[in-house]
């Protein structure tokens, strides 16, 4: 059974067709890229799959379950986590609290447990804390656990956001432009980090990225969309040489 199967997903915003007949299949363990010029509909694809929008037509099946009509938190609970193009951490909460709250779906205790501090509450809070620290240590963020995210450098904030997505225990991690706004040294580190996460956590990663170094060095399969339509897919080498892709990025005259 495929991990994620998206079939002919189409999204209209009023009369505008933002995504047309988008299909993709993850069997598990891929590291896929999604590229395209600005406004091509890449983030819309992520928003559709994470349940933030409901597709106008088409099906999204994750682990054999159709996610149509599910609220985003349920989709995340099923195992699809994502990060945002512009960092959306909770900035008035410590880094560790960010990681704890994002385990909300797996909370496993009720308001009552919280009031009476039942054993279940104490056990789950300790477990969540341990898992949160484990993630932070894995991503070399443990020393920032009690800091407010706003006080950290931009590169670290990106890492915290990835850590927060990982803490939901996903099987598919969607990264929306993880390298945006990073300097070249940070980008190097990010490439290593993503490769390491992919190997260590044994999950599928799907990323949107404009920096071609990142996509070309990490992804084994790349999809290219333009104006909502899939114009090409293939290995990095194939994509680099594909005239349709070059045309979409650079225009007719450049060829």
């Amino acid at each position: 059974m495929a991990l994620l199967e998206v079939k002919d997903m189409t999204q209209y915003f009023g009369g505008l067709c933002a995504v047309t007949d988008f299909s993709v299949t993850f069997t598990g363990g891929e590291l896929m890229g999604l590229i395209g010029p600005n406004g091509a509909g890449k983030t819309t694809v992520f928003n559709l799959i994470s349940g933030f929008y409901q597709p106008s037509c088409g099906d999204i099946v994750f682990k054999g379950k159709n996610t149509r009509g599910l609220k985003p938190h349920k989709v995340t609970g099923l195992g699809i986590a994502r990060t945002f193009q512009n960092i959306r951490l909770w900035f008035d909460m410590s880094v560790l609290d960010n990681i704890l709250v994002s385990q909300y779906y797996h909370l496993g205790y009720s308001l009552w447990d919280c009031f009476v501090r039942s054993n279940r509450y104490l056990r789950r809070e300790a477990e969540m804390r341990a898992w949160g620290m484990e993630i932070l240590e894995a991503l070399d963020l443990a020393q920032f656990a009690d800091e407010l995210p706003g006080n950290l450098p931009y590169g670290i904030q990106r890492r915290v956001e990835i850590a927060r997505a990982l803490s939901t225990k996903p099987d598919l991690l969607m990264l929306d432009e993880p390298a945006a706004g990073l300097n070249s040294a940070d980008v190097e580190g990010l490439i290593k980090l993503i490769a390491w996460i992919h190997k260590e956590f044994k999950l599928s990663i799907w990323m949107i990225e404009h920096q071609m170094d990142v996509v070309m060095s990490l992804c084994t399969w790349i999809k290219v969309i333009d104006f909502g339509a899939t114009i090409a897919e293939g290995t990095p080498k194939e994509i680099r040489e594909n005239p349709v892709v070059i045309k979409a990025y650079l225009g007719d005259d450049a060829i």
Binding site: P72, H73, R88, D97, Y104, Y109, L111
Partner: protein
């Protein structure tokens, strides 16, 4: 040993309060000031969940207080006092003391159910729109009470002083002081446990970035519903205590002025700071009493103080910090996360 310091201090404080009121060392005036202080603490710290932690703007806290006040009053008069409205008391008066906590809880539960009236629209709206809905909800409650003749309508409802008198048949203690004290401690304790858990931190997440919260697996609708129900329920308990302290309630006590008063306490204390809400409730109660000799001029002086405060310290007394952030030494005495 240190985790028992706070409970021990609270027990001591209660004992002192009971002693000084019984011996007459503290007169009735000061007793009532202290009781209203307790009620204000419950109101402001519970409203702080919505207006502070969740970042919404609820202007209808008095409405939920009214629900608690009326439900508990009707229940207690029905059960323990004979009067013209409900006739004979259903239960012997000496049970009043033992069943009073349940009456308080019943008031709280009723108020939290009415809180759903606001929680459900809050799924779709935020900010100004929700503020209007909360005002509407408070007016629905007030108008409903005014139009039910069986509980006195606009004239009000009385008979609760008979119930407090009935408590004294069991043991001659200043019972209302004890109940207000216990209610206040209970409320702050409950809020603290809620807000400092990961479950309650979901409320802060919704406040700071609702979309990120929903995408990061926080069930935002459930969070909002929980926050509204806890907050409104405690307002109901405050209302129940208020009704029994006064011995008389009328819908006129639960207008938007009352809601505003509570909001002032929350913003004065600092949004999202539990200790700030408690402190400012104490301060405002004392200030109101201290300025009483000024009579009508009081309503010029107090707003002026507020304007000055907002000018020079817009984040309120505590900002969004807690007492233990300012005095880290206090952390020894209680565990926030345990």
């Amino acid at each position: 040993m240190k985790q028992y310091t706070i409970p021990a201090l609270l027990a001591l404080l209660l004992a002192v309060l009971v002693f000084v009121s019984m011996t007459g060392a503290m007169n009735v005036y000061w007793q009532s000031v202290l009781m209203f202080m307790g009620i204000n603490i419950i109101l402001s710290s519970s409203l702080n969940i919505i207006n502070g932690n969740m970042g919404e703007f609820s202007c209808g806290h008095a409405g939920f207080m009214a629900v608690g006040a009326y439900v508990s009053s009707v229940l207690s008069v029905l059960l323990f006092a004979e009067g013209s409205v409900f006739g004979e008391a259903l239960l012997p008066p000496h049970l009043a003391v033992f069943l009073f906590p349940f009456i308080l809880v019943a008031g709280g539960v009723a108020a939290s159910l009415v809180g759903l009236l606001v929680a459900v629209p809050s799924f779709r709206t935020r900010g100004d729109y929700l503020a209007i809905i909360t005002i509407a909800a408070a007016y629905i409650v007030k108008s409903t009470i005014e139009n039910i003749n069986a509980i006195g309508g606009a004239r009000g409802f009385m008979g609760m002083s008979k119930v407090t008198a009935a408590m004294n048949t069991t043991a001659d203690l200043p019972w209302m002081i004890i109940w207000v004290f216990l209610g206040t401690v209970f409320s702050v304790w409950l809020i603290r446990r809620f807000i400092f858990s990961t479950l309650g931190n979901g409320v802060n997440a919704v406040c700071q970035d609702e979309i990120a919260a929903e995408i990061m697996s926080v069930n935002t609708n459930q969070v909002k519903m929980t926050a509204f129900m806890v907050s409104c329920g405690l307002a109901g308990i405050a209302g129940a205590l208020f009704a029994h302290v006064l011995g008389y309630v009328n819908p006129g006590s639960f207008t938007i002025l009352k809601s505003t008063e509570v909001m002032v306490m929350v913003y004065l204390g600092g949004m999202g700071s539990l200790s700030g809400s408690v402190l400012s409730a104490i301060l405002i109660t004392l200030l109101m009493e201290a300025l009483r000799p000024l009579q009508i001029i009081k309503w010029i002086v107090i707003p002026l103080l507020l304007v000055l405060l907002m000018q020079f310290r817009p984040e309120g007394i505590m900002g969004n910090r807690e007492l233990s952030d300012i005095f880290p030494g206090l952390k020894k005495f209680y565990r926030l996360k345990g």
